[in-house]
Symmetry: C2
């Protein structure tokens, strides 16, 4: 769990390492650790991250922590207030709408371009993963499956840059999902949508798939905006 997450996280900023063994730098590992704590909800939005504290806790130099902060700041997971410190990013209503604007752009574009059979199969796999999680009442599994589903859609385009952008956006969203995930029916309601989208995709009806996905995102945005003060 943690290792795969770390690998997925490093897919964000890390310089692609050809076929190199490449031990991640210490700064990268610090960033990974913080990313993990962020995703786990251990560090809540608005929380302050003090350089010296983290440096001491993780047994690294303050300078190294600083580099890790730069990495996280570039991913928008954290914001720097000059001379005041870095804080866990917190998204306001405007940010939520912003994030969904990005998702609409890249997800709809990706699905309307179709994709190889293998990539379509990955989308289907995410749908099945979701159904299995639902059957097992695995709340967290449902959320993960949903993210896999949308990442698989973007992956249809086969663009490394789009994949990166999507990963960042999803990481941002995880920041305030910890508040919304309490609703057990939250993701479950999206399952039929995902399946229908996947069906249209497999049938080659890309226009319809795009329409469905767009409607899905609009609804999801409204829902998120409702949960978080509009």
């Amino acid at each position: 769990m943690t290792t795969s997450d770390a690998a997925a996280g490093s897919a964000l900023g890390a310089a692609a390492a050809r076929l190199r063994v490449a031990v991640p730098s210490v700064a990268d590992r610090v960033a990974a650790e913080l990313r993990l704590q962020l995703a786990e909800g251990l560090l809540l939005p608005g929380a302050r991250l003090t350089e010296s504290t983290i440096a001491e806790d993780l047994g690294v130099s303050r300078n190294t922590v600083r580099e890790a902060f730069a990495e996280l700041a570039a991913e928008r997971l954290v914001v720097r207030h000059p001379n005041r410190g870095v804080f866990v990013a917190s998204l306001g209503p405007g940010d939520i709408r912003d994030v969904y604007t990005v998702r609409r752009a890249i997800e709809v574009s990706a699905i309307r371009g179709g994709g190889s059979a293998k990539r379509v199969a990955a989308v289907r796999a995410a749908v099945e993963e979701g159904k299995a999680a639902a059957a097992a009442n695995d709340e967290e599994g449902l959320g993960n499956a949903n993210q896999h589903f949308h990442r698989a859609i973007v992956a249809l385009a086969g663009s490394r840059r789009l994949d990166t952008i999507m990963a960042q956006v999803l990481a941002e969203m995880r920041l305030f999902f910890h508040k919304a995930t309490v609703d057990a029916h939250f993701y479950r309601g999206y399952l039929p949508d995902n399946e229908e989208i996947c069906n249209a995709l497999e049938a080659g009806d890309l226009d319809r798939a795009g329409e469905l996905l767009l409607a899905y995102l609009d609804r999801s945005e409204e829902r998120q905006a409702a949960v978080h003060g509009d």
Copy 2:
């Protein structure tokens, strides 16, 4: 405190300020200087950037240069090879296609969503800027106008994140444009396209505007792929 007010200062994501006087950090200024040299073509793709050299040249600490590198690496303008150094990013054929995939996604999405009159006017302004530059035989002005045009299109969506992504993509493209810009007719041929797109946009025919823009991007991609060994 939301991240909404984070900053639109420098074109790319410098952590600048609301109404703050805020002198940018030294690291930011170093990054800005390097960005400038990158855009000017003083630093060619593949060139190596040695920490100590730059630190000495700019009269700052090596550690500060390091932070600047992190910033540029996050923007993909530079790549880090662990234990070997940082190099000016160079885009291969695959990257070119990748970049255009991103542009198709966000530009077409933005234009199909329309935009306020003020934002449409900004698009028109960019078209006129291009015509003026063409009349003056201002080669560089033409290139700038073209970028303004596409940035204005993305700005239609009013999304800070999309604007940032677009700025990064354009910065990446400038990296290897220094090779392609030699062709005087390069941008000039696109002028009529831009105007037609703008006309459709002003007429409210968003579908048509989107189609035109998409065709434009496809053609541009093919052209770039042709110039750089496919």
